[in-house]
Amino acid sequence: MLDSTLSDIEARALSAIEAASDAAALERARVEFLGRKGALAQIGKDLGKLSPEERARAGKLLNSVKQLLEERFDKKQTWFEEQALRARLDAEWLDITLPAPGVRPGALHPLTQIQKELEDLFTSLGFAVVDGPEVETEWHNFDALNIPPAHPARDAQDTFWLENGCLLRTHTSPVQVRAMERFGAPLRIIAPGRVFRNEEVDASHEHTFYQLEGMMIDRDVSIGHMLYFMKTLLEAIFRREVTVRLRPGFFPFVEPGFELDIQCLLCGGSGCPVCKQSGWVELLPCGLVHPNVLRAGGIDPREWNGFAFGLGLTRLVMMRYAIDDIRLLQSGDLRFLEQF
């Protein structure tokens, strides 16, 4: 009798669980069957009327039904909760392709970027990065660099003279002298910076551009040492092996003086408009520091010697990004600058 009642309850409860369409219906069914006044509780009360043997058996049976139903209720309830969470989260859908609010990051000038890159390279090679003034004395810009007044080499550098007798530095080379005065020997420095030439501006000429000067002074520095640093520099810049050639070049502050050409990276040396069909691009004037320059910097040329070089940063930036108009670099045009 009890057995059949219990199995009837069980069957009804299971179908109620099955039929519950939401958490509330399920809760109502739980109260109906498992609540304090629910169907099973009612049967529990009736157990006392049974004989002790019967009671023990029926109690066991009741418990097993109760346990089963609790399990089923919990399972269904968990399922409803998960459903609810899923629905809530789904409602929180976001379009992540929308643009981020706030401002876009700005861009650094390409000349800044290349300067920083070369500063890091040379710092890793034990060079100090030094600065010099943009307005220079005639002595530092010319005389100390073995270019006395009325020297024809002054022709090569159209100079902006200032009313106070100073000038706008025509190259970063005066920093060689300033660095020697400040640090003495041994010395390893680079000096990136802005230089000026009194020229008409067009797509390939600027009166304002950037150079990077380099200098190393130590004992018995050779042309081979210089070549090593120049090759290291160029491979870091172009991130590949480059073929170079060294030929004589005249700069009064070095002796011997060189022009270092790299094989044209565009045509590989077969000749193209960029290298003016020669297969080579002139990139790096350099040389062993002239004893007069060492003396001007207060260094004894019998004890010390070294090399120096000058790299056209503006030219390098133009080569790297294939920029066809030098004026863009100083234009402040964001349409150009935002590309870097």
Binding site: E134, A150, R247, Q330
Partner: protein
Amino acid sequence: MKFSCNWLRELVPGLDLSPRDLTRLITMKTAECEGVEPFAPWLEAVVAARVLSAEPMEGSHNLKAVVDAGPEYGTRTVVCGAPNCRPGLLTAFVPPGVTIAAGKHIRSVVIQGVESQGMLASGAELGLNRDSAGVLELDGVEPGSPLPGCPVDHIIEVDNKSLTHRPDLWGHLGMAREVAAITSLRLADPVRGDLIPSGAPAWQVDIRDFELCPRYSALVFENVTVGPSPLWLQARLEALGLNPISNIVDVTNYVMAELAEPMHAFDADLLHGNTIIVRRAEEGEEFAALNGESYRLSPSNLVIADQRGAVALAGVIGGAGSAIRPATTRIVLESANFEPANIRRTSAALKLRTDASMRFEKAQDPVNTVRALARAVELFRIVSPGIRLAGGLVDSWRQAPPPPPIELDLEWLERRLGRPIGKEEVRRILESLSFRVEEPRPQVFQVGVPSWRATKDISIREDLLEEIGRMVGYDTVPPVAPLMPVRRPWVNEERLFHHSVRQMAAAQGFTEVSNYSFISEEMAARFGFTPDEHLRVSNPISSEQTLLRKSLLPGIHKNISDNARFYGEFRLFEIGNEIHKREGRQLPLEAPHLMAAIYTRGDGSAALFELKRLAECLLPGCEARPAEARPYEHPARAGEIAWRGKTLGRLFELHPRLVEQGRAAILDLDLADIFALGPLPRKYVPLRRFPTSEFDLSVVAGLRVHCAEIGARIRDAAGALCERVQYLYSYQGKPLPEDRQSLTYRVTLGAPDHTLSSDEVGTVRRNIIAALEAAGFGIRQ
């Protein structure tokens, strides 16, 4: 400087390199060649032809000429307009299908019913001289043979800058010496010293300033015939871009192009007296030059003078009054040496650069003056038959002692070169370049420098290193890393600081620009700057670059105007030097500044606070203090940025008058001052162990009160327990009167050793309210 390959071949017999290979070798070993071009390649096809008949053509000045153009072209009929075309004339024939000078293409054409099967050409049409008055007149050749003395040539153009230190390379012989050394061939010196006459000179020379004129040599010629040069001489000068003028002048130019020694021929009958005087010009002395110009001279200029006055500007240009003319029969031929710096100063001051001044300013060899005269004697005899020397050599020379030989330690040489090199190779190279080599001690050479390299070029062992290095080829030197002690380089903290500022600005959306250091007076005036506050450029090319910027603002302002055409909103910044002039000849102060700008089309107030945030990123805890606006600033939106007790820059909106459409806010910081303050000192404060208490307070104040001022009053009144005072928001509107606003602050209190009681908090709160009320503020309950 242009070099003729044919000329180099004459001076280096046996040279059989192609012009291209020769050019490459010169570039790699001596000087940079900018290119090599064929000269008058059409001469391959042009032949001599004899005019057999020339008949006038009706209704025109043209002639119908029949010519014998030799076996290849045969007898041809041509239409010719030249006045000198006549039967029997031997001239130049250009066959059809050939392109000649100035791109003129010759075809068979019918002119007035006559088929012209080619063309008779003038010297100018063939590019051999500037004569276009008639067709060429030749002699001494058979019809059909090439034009005499005019083989096809190649011209190598060498970059003048790479010859600055090489006076000898301003003539073909110098370059030929290089080529001979490079190719191990013999150099053929064209100079015959035995042509210099001995005996008493017919003219005197009086050098009054040996500093400026170390040597003056001259020869006097008589029985001179002036006329056009032979074609070969004209063609050679033309190939080098020198204008053929007359046989006498052309020889002087030819010798200059060969030996690098500029010369000048005077008409002796136009000189007064028979003494050449070399002296400084008088102050204001007038000089009429060959070029038709007149110059006012000063004692810094050197002149060649006769009894009456200047007849040449020494080393630069001859005078009009004593120039060679058709009637000249006697000449004084000058071959002198001048001090280079003075020539350069004179030529720069008078803006007169000539082939002569370009050479003299490179420091020519005084030994060369007499050699050039000897060469001219030989050539004059060819171009002016019957010419005679009058008297012996005129020569005044204050000879400087020869430079001492240079000691060259061969071990040192190898160490500098970075590769081993045999002693014999060093000797061979030096001797091939005419150095005299002795070995007084083992492994040490004593090197004598030839006179043409000793004027300026070579005086120390490093100069010899270059001679040897370039001849063995620098490509034979292996790159080698030096072995040196590791040293930590000096760190440029200031530069790193600038880089970090750039990074910070870019991260906040600012794009970096780079502006010129120059501004125009007009740009300065726009901001109320006067030109005199700026350092001025003495020689600007344009009015855009007359002043050096003492603020980055003009450049940034231009960036704003330029970019506003393309963008409705943008941010940009620059790090650059302000240049502030100082007294006298001192270097100016260069002050690195950051200037950042935000352009918007809104009312501009948000932009100002975005810039304030950038300032706070760079200067944590900085303040913006109200300050009087400058003329270019918005009168009610301007202030200073202060940090750690120092004013470091300005924050303002540009005066709307200066911005056409929209608004622009500017932050200007002095990076040198910021860097000088050093990094912000940081000190750890132990974390609170007891909870803090906080309360909000709404302060009623006038509309133009400063938020920071109320905050400071609250902080002062809160006393030692005050942990933080934070501004939350402001409110305007009912129930407040129209001229009042309320500003709400959150006050956080705490003590290091206990939890605050409500009494303690209440006391602080009352104190704050009392202080605010005493200062005239109200409290909103």
